[in-house]
Symmetry: C2
Subunit: 132 residues, 2 copies
DNA sequence: GTAAGTGCAAACGGTTTGCAGCCTC
DNA sequence: GAGGCTGCAAACCGTTTGCACTTAC
């Protein structure tokens, strides 16, 4: 049975207030700084449970680190800024239709897909030209 | 200056003969078993160089491990069987057009994308129904 | 001959786990 | 009060790195 604890409440609230993708370590640190410390192991365990339950999105970056973000239920993709971490939730089913068509063409079943866009948002690009 | 060594030749030949995605550790073991041992560190260093040069594709699986596969130059995506590792190289630019459009809509620049399909190929699905 | 390449083993960094004590229900 | 939850520290595991030795050119 699932129990509500101080730690889980703190993490859930932090995620609710954080629009961008964060690593488990970042979340752990943010919790400590906000005066609601939660053990790193607990952060990992809780994020894992939330990911399984579909309460958070998980993103793997290049070096293998996992990033988490609270999100609406249901499947979708993201456009993430590589500098500031801002994430835009994408709607539309272009990718879904593509995946379905490819799966049929090649006789694959139970096909899942991942698709993420990483770029530089307008603000970060502008900041660069202003000279820092 | 890039030098040709026994180790690099062995790895390149192994990759040429291996159609599916393999981890660095698997490749290291395959080399040892074939009587052409190459140090694990060298396998990693060489794969890293090949990835940078665009000579191999890199795929991150869920647990963060990296898989490598020799491939044609140029950008493309894959359909991979989760059971046997068979990989189909996908052509067409549906995903590329989608990425470009989304990037423009949201004022992002320098947008890169990842998109991979993972499913069960016909043979593996059939094997399951035959009762193993 | 020399500098790139290699192997080993140690270091690394994110993540997981064993366990004793804590706290929710 | 019982069993899930937590924190700590140790274990894990894929990957990277320092260094002395080897080898392609």
């Amino acid at each position: 049975m699932q129990r509500m604890t101080r730690q889980r409440a703190a993490l859930a609230e932090l995620l609710d207030a954080t629009p961008d993708f964060r690593s488990a370590q970042q979340l752990h640190q943010m919790l400590a700084e906000s005066g609601r410390p939660v053990g790193l192991a607990t952060v990992y365990r809780t994020l894992q449970a939330m990911a399984e339950a579909g309460d958070v999105d998980v993103l793997r970056i290049e070096d293998g680190e996992a990033l988490y973000r609270r999100c609406a239920h249901g499947h979708h993709h993201h456009l993430v800024c590589r500098e500031c971490g801002t994430a835009v939730e994408l709607t539309g089913d272009v990718v879904e239709r593509w995946a379905t068509r490819i799966a049929q063409e090649h006789d694959f079943v139970e096909v899942e897909h991942t698709a993420e866009l990483v770029g530089t948002c307008r603000d970060c690009a502008a900041r660069r030209y202003r000279g820092r």
